[in-house]
Amino acid sequence: MEYEEAKAKIVDELQRKSKTKTKFYFSDLAKLLEAKPRDAKKLVNQMVTDGALVYWSSGSTTMYSLPGVGKQAAAEHEEKEE
């Protein structure tokens, strides 16, 4: 799958689901891309580098989300400081 096509697919799907779900496991994204994990990894990491996705980490588990989606910023007092 071409990068731009993959990015559009991920962003569209994550936006569509954003009312009910804001954080996704890597495997969710790999399934969306219908790609093998290693191929999906290259695409997904490129999206993070481009700023289309952001990492969310609890310390033990990492998830992915669209930037600014979910209640992260307000809840974590990021907005206040900036």
Binding site: F26, Y55, S57, G59, T62
Partner: protein, 437 residues
């Protein structure tokens, strides 16, 4: 005068053991005094607020830390763990209190100067609180604010040639024992293998795409000082195939009391004369040792390399010369529940650069786990769910006696019908007549 009263934490200082509360109070006082005139880049009273917040958690019986967050340094999905406090007005010093993991040098060898540099950096840009070393082995920096993350990362990488470690659904910072640098028991160069694989798998370390955490640990010998067998998803434990080398004269010197056993480790009291029968031969788990004509004999075929005899008489017994390592898979040591030890996957593999055979095993395991592992499922859980046999299939390793603990019990390697000449059929109804479910 402390910023917050902490009567409950003060209690923790009353025990006979060293107290982290005393350490934190000392650090809070040091920052308040700031004798070195450090231009603190995060609130000077961060440690006071940390103590206050912890006191509040004791009072309330709940944590006041929020779970995770979106923090990191550019291009990295691990190494920084976002921590935010849910009482930021009361404790502004710890409103952000992120953890940074610094990849420890192989074998944890570093100079005093390097440590001083790290501490100076952390005093300036963080709370000054460190944890040497976290359970993954990393040097842990506890507590800084979001704007300082990139600054710390820049200085670490550009000034100290030092990378961040792993966190999240990543390969965690590989950890190893001191190995051949200082230990005569090391069967392979643990530091070289650890360093090589750390460099080789940078992408896996920094860009998360695993179902969950994954740990490598490297032990130079079966003494397992790094405890890889108990906590690494893949552990690499040094071993050898030929005979333990015996210096019979030194054996006699141990028996005669000229050399103290256990490298004189238990000299705190008088344990009586060294008794080789009682302290070595009878403790051999496979009973493969005996004395014959005043000489110590070992049946290598029976030896399982438990290291006990070598540990007791290190000057008389030495590891063999045909050395390599064993690979075990599936260990984990979670805090609450479900600890399990590693299962032997490769009994012996040479540990020689460029370690291609080892990398092949690792990558086939990862391909399987990345494809089949459920979210937050460790390798050991996948092995339990799909079977050890499946692991053998994906790695292309033939089942062998070493994979089985003992004959006729817990045989988790089964024949398939196509592997047996003529196959087999059975009448399940007839079978159930004699064997109920």
């Amino acid at each position: 005068m402390a910023k917050h009263a902490t009567p409950l934490l003060d209690q923790l200082e009353s025990g006979p053991w060293p107290s982290f509360v005393s350490d934190l109070k000392q650090q809070a006082a040091k920052r308040a005094k700031n004798a070195e005139k450090i231009d603190f880049q995060i609130p000077a009273d961060v440690v006071d607020d940390l103590l206050g917040l912890l006191e509040l958690s004791f009072v309330d019986g709940v944590t006041h830390w929020k779970h995770g967050g979106i923090v990191g340094v550019f291009g990295y999905g691990g190494g920084v763990i976002g921590r935010y406090c849910d009482q930021p007005e009361k404790f502004p010093g710890v409103a952000h209190f992120h953890t940074m993991r610094v990849s420890q040098p192989a074998g944890k060898f570093y100079t005093a100067e390097y440590l001083r540099q790290l501490c100076d950096l952390w005093d300036l840009r963080g709370s000054g609180i460190t944890n040497m070393h976290g359970s993954t082995g990393d040097i842990i920096f506890l507590g800084t604010t979001t704007p300082q993350l990139e600054e710390v990362f820049f200085e670490l990488t550009h000034k100290f040639n030092q990378d961040l470690g792993g966190s999240g659904s990543n390969l965690r910072t590989p950890a190893d024992c001191i190995g051949q640098a200082r230990c005569e028991y090391a069967c392979y160069d643990t530091q070289n293998l650890c360093h090589t694989l750390t460099n080789e798998y940078q992408d896996e370390l920094h860009r998360p795409a695993f179902p969950y955490k994954f740990k490598f640990k490297f032990d130079g010998c079966p003494n397992c000082c790094v405890a890889s067998i108990a906590r690494a998803d893949m552990s690499f434990i040094g071993t050898w195939k030929d005979d333990i080398k015996i210096d019979q004269e030194a054996v006699q010197a141990y028996i005669g009391g000229e050399i103290a056993p256990n490298a004189n480790d238990h000299n705190g009291r008088d344990w009586g004369k060294f008794d080789i029968q009682k302290e070595v031969i009878k403790l051999c788990p496979t009973a493969c040792m005996w004395m014959e004509g005043g000489k110590l004999k070992i049946d290598t075929r029976e030896c399982n390399r438990c290291m006990h005899c070598i540990n007791v008489m290190p000057r008389a017994l030495r590891i063999g010369d045909d050395r390599g390592l064993s690979i075990l898979a599936g260990a984990k040591a979670p805090i609450l529940d479900g600890a399990q030890m590693g299962s032997l996957l490769v009994p012996f593999i040479p540990a020689e650069e460029p370690y291609d055979e080892i990398k092949e095993v690792i990558e086939s395991v990862w391909d399987w786990w990345m494809e089949e592992g459920k979210n937050r499922e460790r390798l050991g859980e996948l092995i339990k769910r799909q079977g050890f046999q499946k692991l053998l299939e994906v790695t292309g390793i033939e089942p062998m006696p070493q994979h089985v603990k003992e004959p006729r019990s817990n045989p988790y390697i089964f024949w398939k019908e196509e592997e047996v000449e003529g196959g087999w059929t059975r009448d399940i109804t007839e079978y159930r007549k004699h064997h109920q479910r």
